[in-house]
Amino acid sequence: MLAQVLLSGIATGCVYGLVALSFVLVFKATETVSFMQGELLMLGAFAAVLLVEGGGWPVWLALPAAVLVLFAIGALLEGGVLRRALGQPHLTAVLLTFGLGLMLRGGVTMVPAATHQMHRLELPLAGVLSLGPLQLAGEHLAVVLATALACASLAAFFRFTRAGVALRACSEDARVAALMGISPTRMHTLAWALGAALAGFAGVLLAPVTLVHPGMGLIALKAFPAAVIGGLSSLPGALAGGVLVGVFEALTGLYLPDGAKDLAVYGLMLAVLLLFPRGLGGRGAAA
């Protein structure tokens, strides 16, 4: 039973981790905490549902397409709105993301088909795999594999592509990067677009597990502590933070009194901040 619950925790943790990654990606490149990642996640899931149910697309095509749609939405939001906050106090951008999130959610609830029923996105992997006494849900395995895949491609992107290296350079020191001929505005766009795409990807992965509905974005409330635990500026830290939160939550749910599960995550975050003020993945004070 313990192993079973652990597995579930890891799968949930991977989704937290992906959303946490999108928080960190945006934060590193723009020094803004984005409060609309949950809404972007919900939008990603709805985009996939729209393509499958409305457009009749096959699922394997609709999923990457939904992620691309979110990439485009991220770029549009940056170009149309968030770029104007460059050079303003940080709070401006933070509040902008908050407002944009409200508008995104409001926009979705204005579509009758979105609110009048719940939608289900069937992955071809649905089913249960038995491994001795363990029962692995296809959707959970898919989540874990897809998260690993997304992290590997993200790492490769940052290491081996010009755009990835440029983005890293920009987040290290935007001024020096600009002197080297990198356009900071373009990198700003790229960071927001990638952040949106990652959140959308998490939404698509979450869709078969929780069904698609306008309140899906609430999961960001758990992903944000995961990002903080991971150090807010470390990509591997965010993923580890996500899995840690997922597993911790599952264990407290199993062993501690009822209700502790929902507090545990925030307790963990406080404890980590107390012991490691820069988060588990953050660099030491000397760096």
Binding site: Q4, A11, T115, H116, V209, T210, G253, L254
Partner: protein, 386 residues
Amino acid sequence: MRRLLTALIALAVQFAPPLHAAAPGVTENRIRIATIQDLSGPIAMLGAPIRDGIVMRLDEENERGGVHGRRLAIAVEDSGYDPKKAILATRRLLGSGEVFAFLGNLGTPVVMATMPLIVDAGLPHLFPFSPHQATYAPTHPLKYQLFAPYRDYMDAAVRYMLQEKGYRRVGLLYQDDDYGLEVMRGVEAGLASQGLELVERTGYKRGATDYASQIARLRAAGCDLVVLATVVRETVAAMREARKVGWAVDMLVTASGYSAQTHELGGEAVEGLYGVSVMPHPYADAAEGDLYDWIQRYRTRYDADPNVWSAMGYDVADTFIQGLRAAGRDLDAASFSAALGQLKTTPGFLGGPTYQFSPDDHLGNRRGRMARIVSGRWQLVSDYLD
């Protein structure tokens, strides 16, 4: 000076009350009422069919010439499940002076915020979709309700499951809010009647995504029946989790989970689930006679299949019309309330319960019946439970 005086007199004549003052919203040939629904918020999937059901019943009455020669009109306002918006809408409607009563307002937060305004203005507050006791008790001449609190239904349902099916070890998975606690009290009351207690209870917050640890706890406690104080999505998720780990325990969900969406989304995993039903779901392919005709009319009109909420909306409007008939042609809030206080409805083809009011009990029905998902649809397995 003279002209000013004439103008003032003209004004006074214009705004003076007519000689026999009619109730607000009631004219020689029309009765105007209002409803506040959620058409864009988190429970719009209930609000839209409720509205459609109400409007359909009123229009059908109008086609037959209305009640005592008066046509029925309704103003529908969207609250988005937001009490602030609901209050603004209520004030606007009250200010217009053209509303006779509020019918079937949706959502406990909305109802709690708006009911005092409506009742203070002297208008009947009828049959809200909110299982809160304050909607009918303490008895108030303007407050009438058709739907009992979850506690009453669940108490009876749990007693039925213990007595008829012999369950002994009952666990509870509940949403950690007023709704979940209300259900918990009902379940505990039902268990206490047999000298039992809950063997395990475990909660979740709205928006939770994973129920593995809750199901593991309930399983470890050795439950033979799990009561679900959940809504559709969590019902499906909890049953899928249990079946995934190979736990074939029986489950019982509240009336909130009694929805066609539960088996449409849950499929194989929710087979065998028990539920509390107040109004049977109108399945189109099994319908006959009047029910079949009704479903066809609904489909033609709205281009969608009716669900249990459409049926409830229709029933609410039907009960209102039966009240108007009983009140007679001389209509105001007092005469209507007096007539409603004596009313016993005749149940229609939708299969709902009989609603009966008395001058000191304004809750029309306290009884639900048991249903079970068999072959992918809800089937009624008991009569109305006492």
